[in-house]
């Protein structure tokens, strides 16, 4: 299917679903490790190569914030990476200079990626959260004529 990419190791814990302790039970000076084991080479590892600990927010989801979602159409995309650089939620998955798709566990549906996409028609468009991805792609608009 076009348009989606999910990396396997990403979790899907709903934020707030963990067992909570009261503020007075939290130790002062808490250290939270983002990774299991050695993390010296993290800057040179892609997300799917990393050993995230359960404390990394990478293993959590904010998908329930969305009422609309961006859908990606690979056929029109020119891999300019505008969406990648401006996504505030690290939710555009790009590898080897190619846009692969949207990380729907971390996307909040802000629509910034759609606004900065330069193609005509856009390669990213917003649809209702419940819309089926294939159906969304089937409704893609045609090239818009520039107003004179």
């Amino acid at each position: 299917m076009q348009g989606v990419c999910a990396t396997d190791k990403r979790g899907s814990k709903e934020l707030g679903s963990e067992e909570l302790v009261g503020w007075d039970e939290v130790m002062q000076g808490v250290v939270v490790n983002s990774f299991e084991g050695d993390a010296t080479d993290i800057a040179r590892q892609k997300a799917e190569e990393r050993n995230y600990s359960e404390f990394s927010s990478y293993t959590a989801t904010v998908a329930s914030w969305r009422v609309i979602k961006p859908v990606y159409n690979r056929d029109i995309c020119i891999d300019c990476q505008n969406c990648w650089v401006w996504c505030p939620d690290t939710s555009i998955v790009s590898r080897d200079k190619q846009m692969l798709g949207i990380d729907y566990d971390h996307c909040k549906g802000c629509q910034v990626c759609v606004e900065v996409c330069p193609t005509n028609p856009k390669s990213l468009l917003m649809f209702a959260e419940h819309e089926d991805l294939d159906k969304a792609l089937a409704q893609w608009p045609q090239k818009e004529k520039k107003e004179k």
Partner: protein
Amino acid sequence: MAITSVKNLKEFSTANDRFEGAHLLCPGCAHSMIVRELMNCTDDNLVIAANTGCLEVSTAVYPYTSWDTSWIHIGFENAATAAAGAEAMYKARKRKGTLKDPDAPVKFVAFGGDGSTYDIGFQWLSGAVERGHDFTYICLDNEVYANTGGQRSSSTPIGSSTTTSPAGRISYGEKKMKKDMVTIMAAHGAPYVAQLAPNKWKIMAKGFQKALSTEGPCFINTVSACTTEWKFDSKDTIHLTDLATDSLVFPIYEIIDGQELNILYRPKNILPVRDYLGAQGRFRHLFKPENEHVLVEWQKRVDAHWERLQRREEARV
């Protein structure tokens, strides 16, 4: 310093993100665009300090962290203090030979909001710069105490309606001028000071790289459009930032060694300040006929500031 190529966006996009999703910043928040870019522009180890504010509360929601680097949370006034302390300890341990990997490149960075930078942490920032620590301080300037519900700060510009400078029947909102923090920090003699914005991603990435590779204290004021307090739609963060830089409300420039001023971006079409103000709810009341004088005042100040920057650039002083 191990630099990520920012020659073009395709190359930059091969950076491996070290700022993770599922933080709780608002949809469309510019804070995270700026933080992501800072972390993506280098491969070096980073020790980052963040004080209380939207960035900190949203990225360290116990037991979660969104940071893939060493990261310290500290009280509201002390982002600079924490980074300076870590840097001093690092140097001392290097001298004593007690570091596990003394050759690993490491950079010290502090993030503070405008409330903490312009107001409450100002003294500590000033002290850290005076002492000459090797660190980069980045102010996420959204011109308001956003995290506590939108109170004015000394970065809030004239005419802005905030919860502590509300516009109404009698008041047109904030009465005072925005503090010129960039000039103040340059006057400290810091080796690199700049004002940058996320819409101009390449200029911003290069500025970050310059600051990280400059020895000594560097200060960068970044324009951070806040959808919640500036009152605009989350999809428009970059568009709004374009209006900010192209109306010259936020000119993009650097000052080296407190002397050499370089303008880094000259808009082809300079937009009227009205276009920028009109796109945000916090300035809506300024478009009533009785507040016309504030709009006139705004444009005058922006023009005068731009003129001053150009003269300083020419004069090299």
